[in-house]
């Protein structure tokens, strides 16, 4: 038998089994409606979970981008200080972090797609549940138990299948989110352990990082000094119009006078 047909049979048999519980068919309606409401709230929770994971990944990307920028700055300073070994180390680390950022961005796109799918599933199920509720009340009001049996079968088959579909979507989203969270947790641990070097932490216990930091602060001091020196020179020029020392100025005047005599 073809894949489509086999899948349909399996799906329907399971969907019907899930709803085939109550003795009185009208109880089945109430039971099923209860299940639908539970599933709807589960879908809402699922959407919230995926959104939380997505935000967490966004935060990690931001942290890693800061760290990459910091390492880039350190590499530039190391080159300026003629420390190619340190610059190489900083750039090596930066390239590792850049790879992590790319992976996380891929995950972010996946989570976003998953979130959109779940939101659509939720809207679809919401509409079906409302339709079912209307049908349920009509059946309960107008039919005896025996007559209700056939009507209920019609109402149940559609909603059962829809619930099966949304149930599957939720399950898949949960699986994917769990994978992402495990990965995100691993990155958190790497950042915490200093292996990925959290930009906001002090790099204790890491020789090269300490040296890079020391170099950073030394370079900062040097560049600040250079800036101050650079800023003070024009200031001197402004005070005296002449940059010659006083004795040089008098010698200059004598030469000028002699030259005219």
């Amino acid at each position: 038998m073809s894949v489509m047909k086999r899948l349909s049979l399996i799906f329907h048999s399971k969907a019907n089994k899930a709803l085939d519980r109550a003795e009185d068919p009208r109880e089945t309606l109430d039971y099923s409606y209860q299940r639908q409401l539970e599933l709807l709230s589960k879908v809402r929770r699922g959407v919230a979970d995926v959104a939380t994971s997505r935000k967490r990944v966004e935060l990690q990307v931001k942290q890693l981008e800061q760290q990459a920028a910091k390492l880039q700055g350190q590499a530039e300073k190391a080159i300026a200080a003629d420390r190619e070994d340190l610059a190489r180390e900083a750039l090596t680390r930066k390239s590792g972090i850049t790879q992590q950022i790319q992976d996380l961005q891929g995950q972010h796109a996946n989570l976003q797609a998953e979130e959109e799918k779940l939101v659509l599933s939720q809207q679809r199920l919401q509409t079906k549940v409302e339709a079912f509720r209307t049908r349920k009340e009509t059946i309960k009001a107008n039919y005896t138990a025996a007559e209700a049996q056939t009507r209920i079968g019609e109402a149940m088959s559609g909603i059962g299948e829809e619930m099966g579909d949304v149930g599957l979507a939720i399950q898949r989203a949960e699986d994917k989110t769990a994978q992402m969270q495990a990965r995100a947790g691993a990155i958190d641990e790497l950042i915490a352990s200093g292996a990925l070097d959290d930009a906001s932490s002090i790099n204790a216990g890491d020789d090269i990082a300490r040296e890079l930091d020391a170099l950073s602060s030394t370079s900062d001091v040097e560049s600040e000094l250079a800036r101050l020196k650079g800023a003070s020179k024009p200031h001197e020029l402004e005070q005296g119009d002449d940059i010659l020392a006083p004795e040089q100025q008098s010698a200059q005047r004598e030469t000028d006078n002699g030259g005219r005599a």
Partner: protein
């Protein structure tokens, strides 16, 4: 004929569209048998695209059972194999 693409909802299709679907469906079956991920992906994408293009969205607030059910667009070969093995499809379980 009503066809459901899992995760997307239901489509109304003319019965004669089934012939085109059957060819692709056979390819999916072969791909699963041989574990050919590439063939599976091509056939499944083609099958779903064909349903989307030749079908119209089924009334959203109607409660009708589908005649055919197709795997989700991002399903992997292993996932579909698992579904067919009567595993991993847990409709409406809301605990």
């Amino acid at each position: 004929m009503i066809v459901r693409i899992l995760g997307e909802g239901q489509y109304d299709l003319d019965d004669h569209a089934l012939d085109a679907l059957n060819g692709l469906d056979t390819q999916i079956e072969l791909a699963i048998e041989h574990g050919d991920e590439e063939m599976f992906r091509t056939a499944l994408d083609g099958l779903l695209a064909s349903v989307r293009s030749s079908g119209t969205h089924h009334e959203l607030d109607s409660l009708d059972e589908s005649d055919l059910i197709l795997p989700p667009g991002d399903a992997t070969l292993d996932e579909v194999r698992q579904m067919l093995g009567d595993e991993g499809l847990i409709p409406g379980r809301a605990e």
